[in-house]
C-alpha cells in the first residue's frame, strides 16, 4: 500500500485547464508531489532527467503526442519502467491497442471523476493511502 503523498506524479497535457483539473483531482486523492509539463517532448525531458514514479499524460498533444512520449520513455535505460497512464478523449480500441503494445499501464477516458481516476490508479498501484 503505497502512500500517495510519496509518489511523484508528472501530469502532461497541452491545456493548462486540464492540467489544473488533473492536479486538483490528484490532490484530492492524496498526491502531493505533482509536476506538470505541456507536451510529450517536455514530459520526456522531465521524466528522464528528474525521475518520477508515475506519468499521467494526455494522448492528443502538439509537438509529441502521448504514444510517442510513451514509446520514447519506455526506451529509456533508466526511466523506462516509469508508470504511465494515458488519458484519451474516447475509448478507441486502436489507440488503446497501440498504447498497450507500447507498455502503457492503464488508460483513462476523459472526462472523468475523481473516484474514477482513483480507481484507475489503484488498479495499477494498489490501494492508495
Amino acid at each position: 500500500m503505497p502512500a500517495a503523498n510519496q509518489i511523484k506524479v508528472l501530469v502532461v497535457d497541452d491545456q493548462l485547464s486540464m492540467r489544473k483539473l488533473i492536479a486538483g483531482a490528484l490532490m484530492q486523492i492524496g498526491f502531493r508531489r505533482i509536476f506538470e509539463e505541456n507536451n510529450g517532448k517536455a514530459g520526456l525531458a522531465h521524466a528522464t532527467s528528474s525521475p518520477v514514479h508515475l506519468v499521467i499524460s494526455d494522448y492528443n498533444m502538439p509537438d509529441m503526442d502521448g504514444l510517442e512520449f510513451l514509446k520514447q520513455l519506455r526506451a529509456h535505460p533508466l526511466a523506462g519502467k516509469t508508470g504511465f497512464i494515458m488519458l484519451t478523449g474516447r475509448a478507441d480500441a486502436t489507440l488503446v491497442g497501440r498504447a498497450r503494445e507500447l507498455g502503457v499501464n492503464n488508460y483513462v477516458v476523459k472526462p472523468f471523476t475523481v473516484t474514477h481516476l482513483k480507481a484507475k490508479l489503484e488498479q495499477v498501484i494498489g490501494k492508495l493511502t
Binding site: M18, P51, N105, K110, K120
Partner: protein, 744 residues
C-alpha cells in the same frame, strides 16, 4: 474566485486560442495549402474543446463538439482532398462552436434549431463521403468509458516502484539514499548573530534534493511585528545519502540559536506507507490544509503536505515561499523555465497607470527644463547636459511604454473571415478575403475602436462593391470576387486599406442621389474624387433597396465619423469596372500628440500639428469683409475664411485686428481649410493628451487638454469642430475654399 470557476475561465481562454487555430487551419486546408500538421491541429482544437467542456459539464458544447469531432474523424483520411463546399460547412460549424463557447461563458443563447440544422448539414457532408452519420450526443455519461477495459482487451499493468531516485538521481548515490525530515526553527538570536536562514537552507540543498515547507503561523499582525524577532520555521524533507552528522554540520554554528529536529525516514516508497513517520510541525499541516481546501474545496487530509519547491525555494526569499504555497509547480515557474514562453499577461489597468505616470513624467520633465532655463541653471554645464539626457531618456521610456500597448491588427482582422462567410451566404456572392500586414502594430485603444468601422466597410464592399457571380461572369471577370484588407505603417501613422475588385462606384447614380437628396446643388460640377467622396455624406445610401446587411442610411458617414474620432482620415478612390479602394490613415497612439502651442488672450492653446498647413502674417489689404463679422483672407489665388479663434471661443468680445496677430492655415480631414487668427505662436511640442470629458465635461470646440511645462493647463483645439461651427454659423454663405468662387 472559486478555484473551479478560475480553471473554467482558463479553459475559456484556451478555447479562444483553439478556435482561432481551428478557423485558420480550416481556411488553410480549404485553400489547399494544409499539411498533415494542419489537419492534426484542426482535430486537436475540436477535441480539446470537447474534452474541457466535458470536464465542466457544458452539455450543449459537449454534444455539438462531439458531432463535429465525429464527422471530422470520418473525413480525416481524406481531409485534405475535401471539396470547398465541405470546408465551408466545417467553417460554419466552427462559427457555431465559437457561439456555443460564448453561450457557455454567459453570452447570447444559441438557438437549438441552429445546432440541429448544423448537425444535419455536417452529417450530409458525411453522407457525401458515404460514411455513417454521427448522432448528437445528449449527455456526458456517454463519455464514460463505452467499453470496459476488458472489452477493449486491455489488462491494467501493475506499476513497480523501483528506487527511481536511487537509480537516476545524480545527487544521490544508489541504494544508500535516505529521506530525512528536518524541522528548523530559528531563535531571535540566530539573526542577531548575523546568520541567515536562507544561507543555511541553501547549504542544506547541496546535500541532496530538498522539499521545503515554510510555517509562518506565528507571524503576528503587521503592527505587532518586532523587527528583530524570528517568526518563521521550516520543515525540510531531504533526500540524500548523507549522514545525520553531515546535516548537523550545516547547522553547526547556529545549533544553540535554533530548534533543530532531524529524523530519518525510509527511502523505500512502497515500504513507507506509515504516514506517522513524517511529522512536520503541526502548524504546517493546518496552514497548508487550510490553503489547500480553500483552493480545491476539499476536506483537509491528515497526511503531511510536502510542497514541491524543486525550482526555487531554497534560493527564494521567505515571503515568496509564502506567496506561493506551491502545491503543484506553478505555471509561472514552468513558463520561466521553458525557453519558448517569452510573453506575460498583464492587466490592462496596470499598463494604463504606467502610461499615465509616464505622461506625468514627460510633463514634469518639461517643467523642470523650463524652470532651469528661466533661472539660468541650464547654462551650467552639468545641469544642461543632465537635462538633455533626461529629456532623451523620458522620450525613450515613453516610446517603450507606448509599445507595450501596441498590438498587431490581427485581432481585428481575424474576425473578418467569419463576417465574409456570413455575408456571402446572405448575398449569394462568392467572395475570397485576402489579408496582408496582420502583424502591423497599433495602440490597443485604436484597435478596439477599429472593429466597427472595418466590419461596416467589409459589409459595404461585399454588399455594394462586388457584383453577383452572374454579373461578374458577364463582365468577363472570375465569378469569385476578392476583398483585400491590408495594414502597414507610413510616416508615423497606420494605413489600412480595404479594396474590392467589384464594379467601382457608379458615379452617375451617386450624383443623381446626392442632387436628389439636396446634398449638392444641381449646378455644382464635381471631380471624380469629389463624387466618390459624396458617399461619406450623412444620410447618403446608394443601395437600391435597404438590405439587412448594410442597414438603412447609416452608411459610410458613420464610418467616417468613427475614424475621425480616432484622429484618423478616410478616403476612397474608385475605378469603374475594376473596383474601389478605401484608405484609412490612423494615428499610432491616442495618448500623445504633436501640437503647436499658441496663445489667445491669456490662454495657451494647442493646435494639433497634423491639421496645420502653414503659418502666415496677415496683411490688412489681403482681408476682405463680408458683413460685420465675416472676413476672408486672400491666399495666393484663393480666399479662405478668416476666423478669430479668441472671438469664436468667447475669450474676447470684439474681433481682433488681423495685423495684431498671426494666422495659421488649418485643414480638417475633409480638406476644408480656414485661417485661424491667434495672438502668437509659442512653438511646437509633443503633448500628453488628458481627456476633458473624463476629468471635467465635454467642451465645445475643444478636443482634450494637456499640461504645459510651466504647469498650466492648455486646451487642445478641435479643428474639425471649429471648421464645422464656422460652416453652420455662416449658413453656407461662405463655404470652405473649394466651394467658394470669389474672385481674388
Amino acid at each position: 474566485m472559486d478555484p473551479i470557476e478560475e480553471i473554467k475561465q482558463t479553459f475559456f481562454q484556451e478555447c479562444e486560442e483553439l478556435l482561432a487555430e481551428l478557423e485558420t487551419g480550416l481556411l488553410t486546408l480549404r485553400a489547399g495549402d494544409g499539411d498533415e500538421e494542419t489537419v492534426n491541429a484542426v482535430f486537436r482544437a475540436v477535441h480539446s474543446v470537447k474534452g474541457g467542456a466535458g470536464a465542466f459539464a457544458l452539455d450543449n458544447l459537449v454534444s455539438f463538439s462531439h458531432v463535429f469531432e465525429t464527422v471530422m474523424e470520418e473525413m480525416r483520411s481524406e481531409c485534405q482532398s475535401q471539396s470547398r463546399e465541405t470546408f465551408d460547412v466545417l467553417l460554419r460549424a466552427a462559427d457555431l462552436l465559437v457561439d456555443l463557447v460564448r453561450e457557455a461563458r454567459g453570452g447570447a443563447v444559441v438557438a437549438t434549431e441552429r445546432t440541429t440544422l448544423m448537425t444535419t448539414e455536417l452529417n450530409n457532408c458525411l453522407a457525401q463521403n458515404a460514411a455513417s452519420p454521427a448522432s448528437e450526443c445528449q449527455s456526458e455519461d456517454q463519455f464514460e468509458p463505452l467499453m470496459e477495459a476488458d472489452a477493449l482487451g486491455f489488462v491494467p499493468q501493475q506499476i513497480i516502484f523501483d528506487d527511481l531516485d536511487g537509480d537516476i538521481e545524480p545527487t544521490s548515490s544508489g541504494q544508500s539514499a535516505q529521506i530525512w525530515s528536518i524541522v528548523f526553527a530559528p531563535h531571535n538570536d540566530l539573526y542577531a548573530t548575523a546568520n541567515d536562514a536562507v544561507v543555511l537552507l541553501r547549504e542544506l540543498s547541496r546535500l541532496g534534493e530538498i522539499d521545503t515547507v515554510l510555517a509562518m503561523d506565528s507571524l503576528p499582525a503587521l503592527d505587532a511585528i518586532e523587527p528583530e524577532h524570528a517568526y518563521f520555521s521550516w520543515t525540510i524533507q531531504l533526500t540524500s545519502d548523507c549522514s545525520e552528522d553531515d546535516i548537523r554540520e550545516v547547522f553547526d554554528f547556529v545549533e544553540d540559536e535554533c530548534d533543530l529536529e532531524i529524523r530519518r525516514l525510509s527511502n523505500d516508497i512502497q515500504a513507507a506507507p506509515d504516514t506517522d513517520t513524517i511529522t512536520p510541525a503541526p502548524n504546517d499541516i493546518d496552514r497548508f490544509d487550510a490553503a489547500r481546501s480553500e483552493l480545491l474545496g476539499t476536506d483537509p487530509a491528515s497526511d503531511a503536505l510536502i510542497s514541491d519547491t524543486r525550482t526555487a525555494t531554497t534560493e527564494a526569499e521567505p515571503d515568496e515561499t509564502v506567496e506561493t504555497p506551491a502545491i503543484t509547480e506553478t505555471p509561472q515557474a514552468q513558463q520561466a523555465a521553458s525557453p519558448q514562453q517569452s510573453t506575460i499577461r498583464v492587466d490592462l489597468d496596470r499598463v494604463d497607470i504606467l502610461i499615465n505616470l509616464v505622461g506625468e513624467l514627460v510633463i514634469n520633465q518639461s517643467m523642470l527644463a523650463q524652470h532651469a532655463g528661466v533661472s539660468g541653471f541650464s547654462k551650467e554645464q552639468g545641469v544642461g547636459t543632465g537635462l538633455d539626457e533626461l529629456e532623451r531618456l523620458t522620450r525613450e521610456i515613453q516610446d517603450s511604454v507606448m509599445a507595450i500597448r501596441a498590438q498587431p491588427v490581427k485581432s481585428v482582422f481575424q474576425r473578418m473571415p467569419r463576417l465574409v462567410r456570413e455575408i456571402s451566404a446572405q448575398t449569394g456572392k462568392i467572395v475570397r478575403l485576402e489579408t496582408e500586414g496582420e502583424t502591423t502594430e497599433v495602440d490597443k485603444t485604436v484597435i478596439e475602436k477599429l472593429t466597427d468601422p472595418l466590419t461596416h466597410m467589409i459589409r459595404n464592399a461585399i454588399d455594394h462593391g462586388l457584383e453577383t457571380p452572374e454579373q461578374r461572369t458577364a463582365a468577363g471577370k472570375p465569378a469569385e470576387g476578392v476583398v483585400r484588407m491590408s495594414a502597414n505603417h507610413r510616416s508615423g501613422r497606420i494605413i489600412i486599406q480595404i479594396s474590392d475588385d467589384g464594379a467601382g462606384i457608379n458615379r452617375d447614380r451617386v450624383l443623381e442621389i446626392a442632387r436628389h437628396k439636396g446634398l449638392i446643388s444641381h449646378s455644382e460640377i464635381l471631380s471624380h474624387d469629389e463624387i466618390d467622396n459624396l458617399i461619406f455624406k450623412p444620410g447618403f445610401s446608394t443601395a437600391e433597396e435597404v438590405s439587412s446587411i448594410s442597414g438603412r442610411g447609416v452608411g459610410m458617414d458613420v464610418v467616417k465619423r468613427s475614424i475621425e474620432s480616432l484622429g484618423g482620415r478616410i478616403s476612397i478612390s474608385s475605378t469603374p469596372g475594376t473596383g474601389s479602394v478605401f484608405t484609412m490613415s490612423l494615428p499610432l497612439t491616442l495618448a500623445v500628440l504633436d501640437g503647436m502651442v499658441i496663445t489667445v488672450g491669456d490662454q495657451a492653446l494647442i493646435v494639433p500639428l497634423n491639421n496645420v498647413i502653414e503659418t502666415l502674417s496677415p496683411r490688412a489689404h489681403k482681408i476682405k469683409y463680408l458683413g460685420p463679422h465675416e472676413r476672408v483672407m486672400a491666399l495666393r489665388d484663393q480666399h479662405v475664411p478668416l476666423v478669430d479663434l479668441g472671438h469664436l471661443m468667447g475669450l474676447r468680445d470684439h474681433l481682433m485686428e488681423p495685423s495684431g496677430g498671426v494666422c495659421i492655415l488649418v485643414e480638417n480631414d475633409a480638406g476644408a481649410q480656414i485661417a485661424l487668427l491667434v495672438d502668437d505662436i509659442l512653438g511646437q511640442r509633443q503633448v500628453v493628451i488628458k481627456s476633458l470629458e473624463q476629468n471635467y465635461r465635454k467642451v465645445d470646440l475643444i478636443a482634450a487638454a494637456t499640461i504645459l511645462g510651466d504647469g498650466r493647463v492648455a486646451l487642445i483645439v478641435d479643428i474639425d469642430a471649429v471648421i464645422c461651427s464656422r460652416q453652420s454659423s455662416s449658413d453656407h454663405t461662405i463655404r470652405p475654399l473649394e466651394q467658394t468662387s470669389l474672385a481674388s
